[in-house]
C-alpha cells in the first residue's frame, strides 16, 4: 500500500510538472493582459510535432529536439500575437474565448492535414528508458527527467522574475498594467516577450508530453481543460500558484484514476468548482 501511494505521488507529480510547463505561460499572460487564450494547448501540440519531426526527419537527438520545440513555438507565437491576438486585447472575454477556440479548431485541422490522425511516437534515448527501484518503489527514469526539467525551469523563472530587469517589468505589468504604462513601460513589448516565453514553454511541455499522454491532433482539446484548471485554481499571474495548482491537479488526477477509477474525474471537477466558489481568484490569486 505504501509503495502504491509512493508511485501514485511520484507519477502524479511528474504529470503535474508537465501540466505546469504547459500552463505557466498562460497564467502569466492572462494575468498581464486579461487575454484568455484557449489556444495555449495548441502551442503545446505543435511543440510535440516539431520534436517528433526533427527527430524523425533530421535524425536529431532528443535533447536537441526539446530546445528546438521551445524556439519554434516562441517564434510562431510572436507571429500570431503580432498579427491576430493583439486585435483582441480590448475585446470582451467571450470574443477572446471564441476566437481562440476557433484557432484550436484550425490548428487541429492543420495538424491532421500535415501529420494524419495517428498517435505519434517519440523514440527516447536508452538512458531515459526503464525505471529505478528505490525502497520497493519503481521510479520511471523519464518521469524523473521531466521533474528535473520542470524544477530547473521553475528555478529559472522565479530567479528571472525576482532578480532581472525584465522580471521586474513583468511583475509591474501584471500588478497594474495601466500604472506601468503610465510610468513609461512599454507593456506591449513586455507582453510580447512574455507571450513568446510562455508559448515556448508550452512547446517544451508538449514535446515532453508525447511519451506520457501521446500526441494526436486532439491534443489541444485534451489539454485545454487541464490547463484552464491549473490556471484558474492556481490564480492568475502567479508562478507559485501555477506550480501548486499543477502539482495538485497532477497528483489528484493520477490518484483519482488509480484508486477510484469510477469517480476519479468526478472528484476533480467537484474540487475545481468548490475551490473556485470559495476563492474565485484561485488559491494564490491576488486580484
Amino acid at each position: 500500500m505504501i509503495s502504491q501511494i509512493g508511485i501514485v505521488l511520484f507519477d502524479g507529480f511528474a504529470f503535474g510538472m508537465l501540466l505546469f510547463l504547459l500552463s505557466v505561460g498562460l497564467s502569466v499572460t492572462l494575468g498581464m493582459m486579461n487575454f484568455i487564450n484557449l489556444a495555449h494547448g495548441a502551442f503545446g501540440m505543435f511543440g510535440g510535432y516539431v520534436a517528433v519531426t526533427v527527430m524523425r526527419q533530421l535524425g536529431l537527438p532528443f535533447l536537441a529536439a526539446l530546445p528546438l520545440a521551445f524556439l519554434a513555438m516562441a517564434v510562431l507565437s510572436v507571429l500570431i500575437e503580432r498579427t491576430l491576438f493583439r486585435r483582441l486585447y480590448k475585446a470582451g472575454e467571450l470574443n477572446q474565448v471564441l476566437f481562440t477556440i476557433g484557432l484550436v479548431f484550425v490548428a487541429a485541422a492543420v495538424a491532421t492535414f500535415t501529420f494524419g490522425t495517428v498517435q505519434q511516437v517519440i523514440i527516447l534515448p536508452s538512458w531515459l528508458r526503464g525505471s529505478v527501484e528505490i525502497a520497493g518503489v519503481r521510479f520511471g527514469v523519464y518521469r524523473s527527467f521531466i521533474i528535473v526539467v520542470a524544477l530547473l525551469v521553475t528555478a529559472l523563472l522565479v530567479f528571472g522574475l525576482e532578480r532581472t530587469r525584465l522580471g521586474a517589468q513583468i511583475r509591474a505589468a501584471v500588478d497594474n498594467q495601466r500604472m506601468a504604462q503610465g510610468l513609461g513601460l512599454d507593456v506591449e513589448r513586455v507582453f510580447a516577450i512574455t507571450f513568446a516565453l510562455g508559448c515556448g514553454l508550452a512547446g517544451l511541455g508538449g514535446a515532453l508530453a508525447v511519451e506520457i499522454v501521446g500526441l494526436s491532433p486532439s491534443f489541444g482539446f485534451q489539454m485545454l481543460v487541464y490547463v484552464l484548471i491549473v490556471v484558474s485554481v492556481g490564480g492568475l499571474g502567479s508562478i507559485t500558484g501555477s506550480f501548486a495548482g499543477a502539482a495538485l491537479l497532477g497528483i489528484g488526477d493520477v490518484a483519482g484514476k488509480y484508486f477510484w477509477p469510477e469517480i476519479g474525474s468526478f472528484l476533480i471537477y467537484l474540487l475545481l468548482v468548490a475551490i473556485l466558489l470559495v476563492r474565485p481568484l484561485g488559491l494564490f490569486g491576488k486580484r
Binding site: 467571450l94 485541422a109 474525474s265
Partner: protein, 328 residues
C-alpha cells in the same frame, strides 16, 4: 411631478413598439413550415435544427441578454434529455406532460445552480460553468444503473402527441412537434426580453455595478433568468430524447456546450433570431461539409469563428442590421 409620471408611459410605449411584429418575422416563421412541403428528405435535420435553436435561445437569454458567459449549458440540455428519457423507460411515454416535467426539473436544478453562478465573474465564472458541466457528465457516467452510462439509455418509447400523431420514420410529427415547442418558447422569450425584466437584464449586462446603485436586485434577476434559461434548455433536451428515442452521454458533453455558443455567436448574441439563424447556418454547413470530410468542417468552422469575431463582432444578423442602418 409631471416628469415622473410621463417617463414610465414613454418607456411602456417604447417596450410596446419593440414587441410589435414585423412582416419579416411573420415571413420567417412561415418559411419554417417549408420543410414539410419542399425538403421532406431533410425533415430529420430540420427537427434537429429546431431543437438546437431552442437550446441556443436558452443560452442567448443568459449570455446575450444577461451577459453570463457559460461553457457548460449542455448540463441542463442533458438533464432534460435524461429526465424525459428515464420517465419514458419507466413507463410514462406521454410526450407533452413528460416534456413539461423535464423542463421543470432542469429549471429547478438551474435555480439551485444559479446561487453558485452569481457568486463568480470573469474567468472563474467560465470555469465554474465548465466544471459543473463536466461534473454532470461524470455523474451520469457513474450512475450506470440509471442512465445506462456509456451505452446510452435503452428502451425509450414515446406515445403519440395528443394521442393522435405517431412519431413516423420520416419525421413529420417530430418536426411539427419540435417546431411547435420552439415557437411557443420563442413567444415566451420574446415577451420576456421586451419586458421591463428584459431591460433590467440588459442593464446588468452593460454595467453590473450600476444596477444595484439604481435599486435593482441584480442577483435575483440573474437567478431568475438563469432558471428560465435552464428550463428552456431542459425542454430542448427533452425534445431531443422524445423525437429520437435515444439519450447518450454526448447530450451532456462539452462539445455540445461549446457548439451552442458558437451557433449563437455566428447568428449574433442579444437577439433571439440570431440564435435561430446561427443554428441553421451551423447545422446545415456541418451537414454538408462533414459529409465530405470532417476535417474540412473543423477547419471551416474555426476560420468562420475567427472571421466573425474579428469582422462581425455582433454576429451575422448584427452585421446585416448594421448594413441596413447605414443604407438608411
Amino acid at each position: 411631478m409631471n416628469d415622473t409620471v410621463s417617463a414610465p408611459v414613454e418607456s411602456r410605449d417604447w417596450l410596446r413598439r419593440r414587441s410589435r411584429w414585423s412582416p419579416f418575422e411573420i415571413l420567417f416563421w412561415l418559411a419554417a413550415l417549408l420543410p414539410f412541403i419542399l425538403f421532406q428528405t431533410y425533415l430529420p435535420l430540420a427537427s434537429q435544427i429546431a431543437i438546437a435553436a431552442l437550446f441556443a435561445i436558452s443560452v442567448d437569454l443568459i449570455l446575450g441578454y444577461a451577459g453570463i458567459v457559460t461553457l457548460g449549458h449542455a448540463m441542463f440540455f442533458g438533464l432534460g434529455a435524461y429526465f424525459a428519457g428515464i420517465i419514458s423507460v419507466r413507463g410514462w411515454g406521454e410526450p407533452i406532460s413528460g416534456l413539461l416535467m423535464a423542463g421543470a426539473f432542469a429549471g429547478v436544478i438551474g435555480y439551485v445552480v444559479s446561487f453558485l453562478i452569481t457568486r463568480v465573474q470573469h474567468l472563474a465564472l467560465i470555469m465554474v460553468t465548465l466544471g459543473l458541466g463536466f461534473l454532470t457528465y461524470e455523474l451520469a457516467n457513474a450512475l450506470h444503473w440509471l442512465t445506462g452510462g456509456t451505452d446510452g439509455l435503452r428502451g425509450i418509447s414515446t406515445w403519440p402527441v395528443l394521442g393522435q400523431f405517431r412519431f413516423d420514420m420520416w419525421g413529420y410529427t417530430a418536426y411539427g412537434y419540435a417546431l411547435g415547442v420552439l415557437f411557443l418558447c420563442f413567444l415566451l422569450s420574446r415577451r420576456l426580453v421586451n419586458s421591463s425584466f428584459g431591460l433590467a437584464l440588459r442593464g446588468i449586462r452593460e454595467n453590473v455595478k450600476r444596477m444595484p446603485a439604481i435599486g435593482a436586485d441584480h442577483k435575483a434577476h440573474l437567478r431568475l433568468v438563469y432558471a428560465i434559461s435552464a428550463a428552456i434548455a431542459g425542454l430542448a433536451g427533452g425534445l431531443m430524447a422524445q423525437t429520437t428515442n435515444t439519450v447518450a452521454l454526448d447530450s451532456l458533453s462539452f462539445e455540445r456546450s461549446a457548439d451552442v455558443v458558437v451557433m449563437l455567436i455566428l447568428g449574433g448574441t442579444g437577439r433571439l433570431y440570431g440564435a435561430i439563424v446561427g443554428t441553421i447556418i451551423f447545422l446545415v454547413a456541418r451537414d454538408q461539409l462533414a459529409g465530405i470530410n470532417p476535417q474540412y468542417w473543423y477547419f471551416g468552422i474555426g476560420l468562420l469563428l475567427m472571421g466573425v469575431v474579428l469582422f462581425m463582432p455582433k454576429g451575422i444578423l448584427g452585421f446585416l442590421a448594421q448594413i441596413v442602418d447605414r443604407r438608411r
